[in-house]
């Protein structure tokens, strides 16, 4: 063992052993193991284990519009108090334009309006009052809406029984969800697609002309039936009580009514509900969910217990999903799914199997090729290549990286590229062997000369793959991770392990001349 320091052999051997040992958890891959050691296994990406990736966008426009609606209602009230006549109110994308018949009261109205609301800008243009949302105000609405949405999405997903979901804000107005192992993405999407805004309103059955003309008077609104678009209801705009007063909801079954949702109000809700039902016996009470009437039963007696049931043409699943939605609470604004990637468990398993076969065959081909070209040295390089693979796997496992299908492609690619460093070294050794005959000197020069080339060549590949990580998304990041780890591991295995193996080989065979 000429020239080979013991500390160096020790380092190489221990790193190799560590690489192999920490690859074990990923190779055994016991999914549910709680063992501290076996837990250090590779995480499979959604494309390999099956699951859903969803990107939701909070429909902020709806919120801004709601806010503008509020403004227009307030302006009406203020004008009524001040006996000013309004000619027209137009709600545009960003502002409300109120046109008055005369300009005498307009400044007073503006001032009283200004005291009610902060964060808006008011402008007078002749007989027009323009109410605008400020950017700061919008941002406040946006931030609180996203925060609330996140919380409610989390509750709904938890209630749906999904294991280990990842739910996080993404950018300004988006929410990103990763749901491993979801078998029925449609159900989840249904759960997320509903705002679940529940309100109870008294039905106005007297003013039939309003319904016929399809024109709701001030303070009322016309709402359609959920099952039949031809059925319309005229409701008091002001809700008796809303979903925010619910403390519990569950799916229930009633012999006469079929599947239903039973609910319970908190104290405040129960009081309001009790009072309104006492005063309106004989009238109908509409249950409105996301802008449509689910049911509108007649109030036959005062309901003071604070609980009740909602009936409709539900099946068991629908009733229990509605209960989930009501328990989790309403979203501040609707969510729109802007991207979905769902993979079934079958495709995931196929991808893993195909990736393994490709990796093994690629490996075997490269190994055969190396032996054909470089003989014994090729065999040494192959040992390095195999260790390289173990190191990639163990690094992926210990840093808790996620392996995706492109990630597997990255590993297969690494198998082909990792021998490059060895090839560079062997080619240098070949050249050196023409110049001199001292075996160990040849090897030493070969490694030394190849060093800077290896570094340069690998760093450029690393640059490309780091940028891929920075700008890539989802599965593509998996590719850049395995490629980067592969490049780093291949530098170690070539410069240290192959080096060590070549010295060992030469020492034991005691070769006097070197021909590659």
């Amino acid at each position: 063992m000429k020239n080979y320091p013991i500390w160096k052999s020790f380092t190489v051997i221990s790193l190799v052993l560590l690489g192999i040992i920490f690859a074990i958890p990923s190779i055994i891959y016991n999914e549910n193991s709680e063992n501290w050691f076996l837990k250090n296994k590779i995480n499979l990406g959604l494309d390999l284990q099956g699951g859903s990736y969803l990107l939701l966008e909070v429909q902020l426009d709806v919120l801004y519009n709601e806010e503008l609606e509020n403004f227009s209602d307030s302006v009406r009230l203020i004008s009524r108090d001040q006996a000013a006549k309004i000619e027209q109110i137009v709600i545009a994308e960003n502002d409300v334009i109120v046109t008055f018949s005369d300009i005498s009261k307009i400044k007073d109205i503006r001032d009283s309006f200004f005291q009610m609301y902060r964060g808006i800008s008011l402008q007078i243009n002749n007989n027009k009052l323009i109410i605008k949302l400020n950017d700061d105000y919008k941002k406040t609405i946006q931030d609180s809406a996203i925060k609330q949405s996140l919380e409610i999405v989390r509750k709904r997903i938890d209630e749906s029984g999904t294991k280990e979901p990842l739910i996080q804000r993404s950018g300004k107005k988006r929410i990103l969800l990763q749901l491993p192992g979801v078998k029925d993405p449609e159900r989840i999407k249904d759960l997320l697609g509903k705002t679940a805004k529940l309100t109870f309103h008294i039905v106005d059955d007297e003013n039939t002309s309003a319904l016929n003309n399809n024109l709701a008077p001030f303070g009322k609104m016309i709402v359609l039936d959920i099952y039949d678009e031809n059925i319309k209801y005229l409701l008091n705009k002001r809700a008796v009580v809303g979903g925010e007063n619910l403390v519990d909801a569950k799916g229930s079954f009633d012999q006469t009514e079929g599947h239903a949702v039973s609910f319970r109000f908190d104290t405040e809700g129960a009081q309001k509900f009790g009072k309104v039902t006492t005063n309106n016996i004989g009238k109908r009470m509409a249950v409105v969910l996301d802008g449509v009437v689910i049911t509108a039963p007649r109030i036959s007696s005062a309901i003071t217990g604070g609980s009740g049931i909602i009936t409709g043409n539900f099946n068991a699943q629908e009733a229990s999903d509605l209960a989930v939605l009501l328990r989790a609470g309403a979203l501040p604004a609707p969510l729109k799914i802007v991207e979905e990637r769902s993979v079934g468990a079958g495709l995931g398993a196929d991808s893993i199997a195909a990736g393994q076969i490709a990796a093994i065959i690629g490996m075997v081909l490269v190994c055969i090729f190396m032996i054909l070209i470089y003989g014994a040295f090729g065999a040494l390089a192959n040992i390095s290549l195999i260790v390289n693979l173990f190191i990639i796997i163990s690094l992926l496992g210990t840093i808790g990286a996620t392996l995706t299908l492109p990630g597997i492609a990255g590993i297969v690619l690494t198998i082909g590229m990792a021998v490059d460093a060895n090839v560079l070294i062997f080619e240098r050794i070949k050249e050196e062997s023409l110049k001199q005959t001292k075996v160990f000197q040849i090897v030493k020069n070969g490694f030394d000369r190849a060093m800077s080339t290896i570094l340069d060549a690998n760093i450029t590949t690393l640059i490309a793959s780091v940028l891929l990580f920075a700008f890539g998304s989802g599965p593509i990041r998996g590719f850049s991770i395995t490629l980067s780890l592969g490049v780093i591991a291949s530098m170690f295995t070539a410069l240290m392990l192959t080096n060590f193996l070549v010295y060992m080989y030469l020492s034991f065979t005691n070769k006097k001349e070197l021909k590659l």
Binding site: E186, K336, I337, V338, E339, E340, R341, S342, V343, G344, L347, S351, A354, G355, I357, A358, I361, L365, V366, I371, L372, I373, Y374, G375, G378, P406, I408, A409, V412, L413, G416, M417, V419, D420, V423, L424, E427, K430, E431, L434, T453, D456, A457, N458, I459, T461, L462, I463, A464, S465, L467, L468, A470, F471, G472, G474, P475, F479, S480, L483
Partner: protein
């Protein structure tokens, strides 16, 4: 051991640079044709960049024709394709307008529910997302090229950086041109492949440039053309070896890695071949533009 390494002579002496004009013309033509193809025919953009809906199903002996019949009444522009074997079918739908929503996935699933054993995959990319992804992909490729240029510039003289970037741009355009001809689907994975090709091609170029630099120091009197030739020959067996092992791995990925990864593997195979070619025939000759030795004029 088997003496196969003798196939590539230890000290080859091939006059690569002598052929540089032919290859230059070939490459310029190839790049121009590629640019033409990209602007006229364009790339076969997948749903990542075009938006739309993609559903992969395994069927119970249902033919493509049957599924098309069911779907075409509701979706005129539906495209169906066998994917790997005859029981697996890929359904693609374009986003009709900006209003297009996730509903398409649900309703397609409902329509064909009883013909299907498993919904293997369903993807929906909305119009805003697809344009964002395209922008980010473009960003990634440009930044990578710039970062690599800066690195080469720092490690070598700037002339080398120029040569490397010419070769790199050539590789990217040429590869994209071939993808356009072959109608290979252009997806997020293709962007990854292009970036990896950039890394690979530069890797190859750097190895030869390294040798050029070394030889410039070693052989002060040698003519530049001869010196470049010598450098390419010195590194030839390494260039061939590494390309072959990489191609072996990629071919294995292409054949055995499954249908989803195939366009990626194909792109990489094309890119590795072009990248290897350009390192020898484009990057090195480009260096001839520059006079590394001003004193040569005096000789």
């Amino acid at each position: 051991m088997f003496g196969l390494n003798k196939i590539i002579p230890i000290d080859p002496n091939i006059n690569f640079l002598g052929l540089r004009k032919n290859f230059l013309i070939f490459s310029i033509l190839a790049v121009l044709i590629s640019i033409g193809l990209l602007s006229i025919k364009g790339l076969n953009l997948g749903i990542d960049f075009k938006g739309g809906t993609l559903i992969e199903v395994s069927t119970k002996n249902t033919s493509i024709g049957e599924l098309r019949e069911i779907l075409s009444s509701s979706y005129g522009d539906v495209s169906l394709q066998e994917f790997g074997n005859e029981n697996i079918i890929l359904i693609r739908l374009q986003n009709k307008s900006n209003q297009e929503s996730i509903e398409t996935v649900n309703s397609v699933k409902n329509l064909i529910q009883d013909k299907v054993i498993e919904f293997r995959r369903s993807e929906f990319v909305g119009p805003t997302i697809s344009s964002e992804l395209l922008f980010r992909g473009f960003q990634a490729v440009s930044f990578a090229l710039i970062a690599i240029l800066i690195y080469i510039w720092l490690r070598f003289e700037w002339q080398f950086g120029f040569g490397a970037v010419v070769a790199l741009t050539h590789d990217v355009l040429f590869t994209l041109g071939l993808l356009s001809i072959l109608n290979v689907e252009f997806s997020l994975a293709t962007i990854a492949a292009i970036l990896t090709i950039a890394g690979y091609s530069i890797n190859d170029t750097v190895v030869i440039f390294d040798r050029v630099r070394e030889n410039l120091r070693k052989y002060k009197k040698l003519e530049l053309v001869d010196l470049f030739n010598l450098s390419v020959n010195n590194t030839l067996s390494r260039t061939i070896m590494t390309s072959l092992t990489t191609l072996l791995a990629l071919v294995s990925l292409f054949i055995f890695g499954g249908e989803v990864i195939r366009p990626f593997a194909l792109t990489m195979i094309i890119g590795v071949i072009i990248g290897t070619y350009s390192s020898v025939f484009i990057a090195v000759p480009t260096l001839l533009i520059f006079r590394f030795r001003p004193q040569e004029d005096e000789d």
